[in-house]
Subunit: 199 residues, 2 copies
């Protein structure tokens, strides 16, 4: 059976994070099997998101159309002197779940990626520099991905910010919780040893 | 940040098979972050599926609006004497991938479930009996789920079909490939031992 409509839906689902071919197929069949209960509802939810959700013009986090700047930027209880820089709005969620960061955010909406032809002007870097200059930021936490492009982007930003006399930090590298020396790759272990701490 | 639109989307995504809260949240944020590339495309694909995909009136498999009865029902190369009964259209996909079944299908679109108040008249059981009576079916393979309700539904259908002199079979129970005695639960192991075969 070659159902073009199902294949198109499978392709669209596969572009979501963490979804492989197999699960996309299962989801597509399920959606087609319950068109009114599942597909219609998902479609409606997507339309609402497209209409009501946008990037905060100030920090780049996701916010609703009627709340721009976003709740993070306008929350007086957050430390306005510390800025956490992330690649993606989804990263904010993960950091918030830890409950250990109480500053504000700046979302780059990307990273410097020569392979994808994305340079410093394709991410929200100019806005970051401007914020550091005008908002009296004292510390910038670079919480970018720890892969090659994320690292390179972090180095690039750190160099720009050092010139401006701001403290630039990164989350610690190391062995993840619930794992062990045996399971860590060479780079992780090297970083964990280099960054060893007295207990 | 409480973004109603994002939460609604997360809820809609969580209803898909195999998607937990965490992955639904990640997908929702990703969809909101790329509204035109991802959300619009998914929405469009869902609309096409709602418009073009339906259940084959004959066997209950998914098919396109302009092809009813479906490709399975009209494929002259398939053995019209053997019918494989499944709960869900997604099951067909899995069976087809094995390449070992060459008969036709009958999708119940459900199972008998007292807990959910679903009886014999809520699934495509009458249509199955009619097919067995009118299509000269010789064997019915009951490939239902192997949980309690699936088993009970299979027993119920088997009893009805035995009266009509048709051979009723089930796929073999046993230890799954890539596993072992050590990893099998009691019921599986009991079934595997009861159904042991000479090698």
């Amino acid at each position: 059976m070659s159902l073009d409509a199902l294949e198109q839906l499978t392709d669209a689902l596969r572009r979501l994070p963490g979804i492989g071919r197999r699960s996309a197929e299962r989801m597509a069949v399920k959606l087609a099997s319950e068109p009114e209960k599942l597909a219609a509802q998902l479609c409606h939810a997507l339309e609402v998101v497209r209409r009501d959700v946008r990037f905060c013009q100030h920090c780049g986090a996701l916010t609703s159309s009627d709340r721009d700047p976003c709740a993070y930027c306008t929350d007086g209880n957050r430390d306005a002197n510390v800025l956490c820089v992330v690649e993606d709005p989804a990263d904010i969620q993960s950091i918030e779940e830890t409950g250990t960061f109480h500053g504000r955010y700046h979302v780059l909406l990307g990273r410097i990626s020569p392979l994808r032809g994305e340079g410093p002007n394709d991410i929200r870097l100019r806005a970051l520099i401007k914020r550091v200059r005008t908002e009296g930021i004292q510390e910038v936490v670079l919480a970018l991905n720890t892969d090659l492009e994320g690292e390179a982007t972090a180095r690039f930003i750190a160099a720009l910010l050092h010139e401006r006399g701001v403290v630039v930090t990164q989350p610690a590298y190391g062995i993840p919780a619930g794992s062990g020396v045996r399971f860590a790759d060479v780079v992780t272990l090297e970083r964990a040893l280099t960054g060893r701490r007295e207990v």
